[in-house]
């Protein structure tokens, strides 16, 4: 019997009780221990008033507690909402309020932030994971981790597969983030299909590179436990230090790697791979943004035993296609600048359409629409957005619901799809989705800013950086540093423009719109000139 995500743990604890489920910085949890702790947390949450369908926030650094929190929340019949601990206070407070979160799971190291959050988010009424001794600005229910006792009994099941399992917030074009809702059904379908596609088994050791609020983490937290594998949670510090990261990959004998290309590029360029033995790595999965071919093939040469696959799918549908990169053979020419996103996976249907939702001819560029059993339910309390992103059509006298990815693709002669760009103004930087409209809305939200334009500027090592230009209101005495500081209070660090030029006017198109393309071209030229004037890098 398995129809809920929580059943993953029930079954693996039965089959693999003594095996390690999760590891983090020398600490470990076997499947048996994880089950007992998740049961204990679930009982605690129910005691504290959590109801079926409630949203429970997770505000944790990457740690073993994350795994306990996810499975414990599910066992209590609630959905988990992972919050980015490095996000600005205002953004986290917005998410807590928008999602109606009353219960939040955290840890001692977040205690300073918790005091601010309680002031900024009035609906928050219960904190789990803070010592009783720590003073908070207002009275709330609380329970420390040390008060949560492991339990052999699971609380009675109170949800069905169509109940919500998790909500992930992502950049929204109107200036506030939007919550992608997944059910137990869509999450479990994804867990199974990914485990099947990448042939995961209980002998695998997955490196959890992505933070919890990033959708890629679901492979590590759902699919790994589904097959009884060990997931090694990689603390944030390692993801910033390639030489330490490659050491960890060697010491932990990782077999499966899944991350954004940026991390793999760093590993190739700065991971001192000559001094490491990574022969245990059998499959490298990457996705979230294009992986420049020269870096991909560079790493493939260093890891000849590993398969490489491009994984594609917006968080709204988990995943819908994959492309297994052909093995390197001598003299093989690089076929394309970036790998295709591949074939649409099993049990899914795709359509490539023009602006009128009519199918384009094979080989023509169009927007990719997908329906798959791994698709979201919609955005939390945003019927306006749901109306826009779901495309409904009659198939065999029934309504088929497709998700509009906003991605422009082209089918290649061999049947694989190639990503060619975005239909809207969303960009990716290090795998993070950023709506440029949100960046502009935030800049214009400043009382002294009259108009703003934001744009992505491609960087040499793949990825891109955000830049912006603003026109100030008359008498606006704002400088760049002050504006950036204020924007950083609303946007996550990866969405704060690297540079904000204060301009007297903007280039305009004939219709009077801001000519962002010209601004972008100027920025690219400036970066190129700067790169040429710099001495050749010794790294």
């Amino acid at each position: 019997m398995m129809y809920l995500l929580s059943h993953i743990l029930d079954r693996s604890a039965e089959q693999f009780s003594e095996r390690e489920a999760f590891r983090c910085e020398g600490k470990r949890l076997t499947y048996g221990e994880l089950l007992q702790q998740a049961n204990g947390l679930a009982h605690t949450l129910i005691d504290l008033g959590v109801q079926r369908g409630d949203r429970v926030g997770i505000y944790l650094s990457k740690s073993l507690e994350s795994a306990v929190a996810i499975y414990g929340i599910w066992k209590a019949g609630a959905a988990y909402v992972p919050l980015d601990p490095s996000a600005p206070l205002a953004r986290t407070a917005y998410t807590l309020d928008h999602c109606g979160i009353r219960h939040l799971i955290t840890q001692k190291s977040k205690r300073m932030r918790m005091a601010d959050l309680l002031t900024a988010a009035p609906k928050l009424s219960c904190i789990i994971g803070l010592p009783e001794s720590f003073t908070l600005p207002r009275p709330v229910q609380r329970r420390d981790w040390s008060n949560i006792l492991p339990s052999d009994t699971s609380p009675p099941v109170r949800v069905m597969e169509q109940d919500l399992a998790y909500i992930m917030y992502t950049s929204g074009s109107t200036g506030t983030p939007k919550g992608i809702m997944h059910t137990h059904r869509s999450g479990l379908n994804y867990a199974r299909m990914a485990a099947h596609t990448y042939g995961l088994t209980h002998t695998d050791r997955l490196g959890n590179h992505s933070p919890l609020h990033f959708d890629m983490s679901t492979l590590d937290y759902f699919s790994g436990p589904l097959v009884g594998a060990t997931t090694v949670i990689i603390p944030e510090a390692y993801t910033k230090m390639p030489a330490s990261l490659s050491q960890l990959a060697q010491d932990e004998a990782l077999t499966i790697w899944y991350s954004v290309p940026f991390a793999l590029i760093q590993l190739l360029l700065r991971g001192v791979l000559d001094e490491r033995d990574l022969r245990s790595l059998r499959w490298v999965l990457f996705g979230g943004e294009p992986y420049p071919a020269k870096y991909m093939y560079g790493l493939m040469e260093r890891l000849p035993q590993a398969r490489f696959s491009n994984v594609y799918g917006p968080a709204e549908i988990n995943q819908c296609s994959y492309y297994h990169v052909p093995p390197l053979t001598d003299g093989r020419a690089v076929a394309a600048e970036v790998a295709p996103i591949g074939q649409i996976w099993a049990n899914a249907e795709e359509r490539v359409v023009d602006d009128q939702d009519q199918l384009v001819a094979s080989g023509e560029v169009g927007e990719l629409l997908v329906r798959t059993p791994t698709m979201m339910n919609g955005y939390w309390q945003r019927p306006d957005l749901n109306e826009r992103v779901f495309y409904r059509t009659e198939v065999a006298h029934q309504t088929a619901v497709f998700y509009r990815t906003g991605d422009l693709v082209q089918q290649l002669p061999d049947g694989n799809y190639q990503f060619v760009g975005r239909k809207d103004r969303q960009i990716k930087t290090r795998g993070y989705r950023i709506e440029l409209d949100e960046v502009e809305a935030t800049l214009v939200g400043h009382p002294q800013v009259e108009e703003a334009a934001a744009y992505g500027v491609p960087l040499a090592g793949g990825s891109q950086q955000i830049e912006a230009a603003v026109i100030l209101k008359p008498d606006g005495g704002l400088d760049e540093a002050e504006l950036k500081r204020q924007v950083a209070e609303r946007l996550p660090a990866y969405a704060v423009p690297e540079r904000v030029a204060i301009a007297p006017s903007f280039p305009r198109t004939t219709s009077g719109k801001i000519d962002r393309r010209t601004l972008q071209t100027q920025a690219i030229a400036r970066l190129q000139a700067a790169a040429e004037s710099r001495e050749p890098s010794t790294i």
Binding site: Y238, K240, P242, V272, A481, R485, A488
Partner: protein, 95 residues
């Protein structure tokens, strides 16, 4: 990037305050004042691009080359750790 005169190695007492100023004012845009024992890698302070900029700053300011195998959590977790690393490098002859 701001250009600074390389600091003389023997002024090791200066390392910490130079690093504190650079991280607080440049990398963090003045959002917070970092202390010598703050964990720079915890998520809230410096991201991976910021770390690359910090290493470049250290190389330029202290006129030494930091080899890739030295860019590790052990040496860069806190300002104190970077200072200790610099002191170690300088006493063994930087360059």
């Amino acid at each position: 990037m701001t250009t600074t005169q390389p600091i003389q190695p023997q002024e090791s007492a200066n390392h910490q305050s130079v690093l504190q100023t650079y991280i607080s004012d440049v990398l963090l845009n003045g959002r917070m004042q970092v202390e010598a024992d703050d964990d720079l890698l915890m998520g809230e302070i410096i991201d991976s691009l910021g770390m690359m900029r910090l290493v470049a700053f250290v190389e330029e300011t202290f006129a030494l080359k930091v080899p890739l195998e030295d860019i590790t959590i052990q040496h860069f977790r806190t300002i104190e750790a970077i200072d200790q690393y610099l002191v170690g490098r300088i006493s063994h002859g930087a360059g």
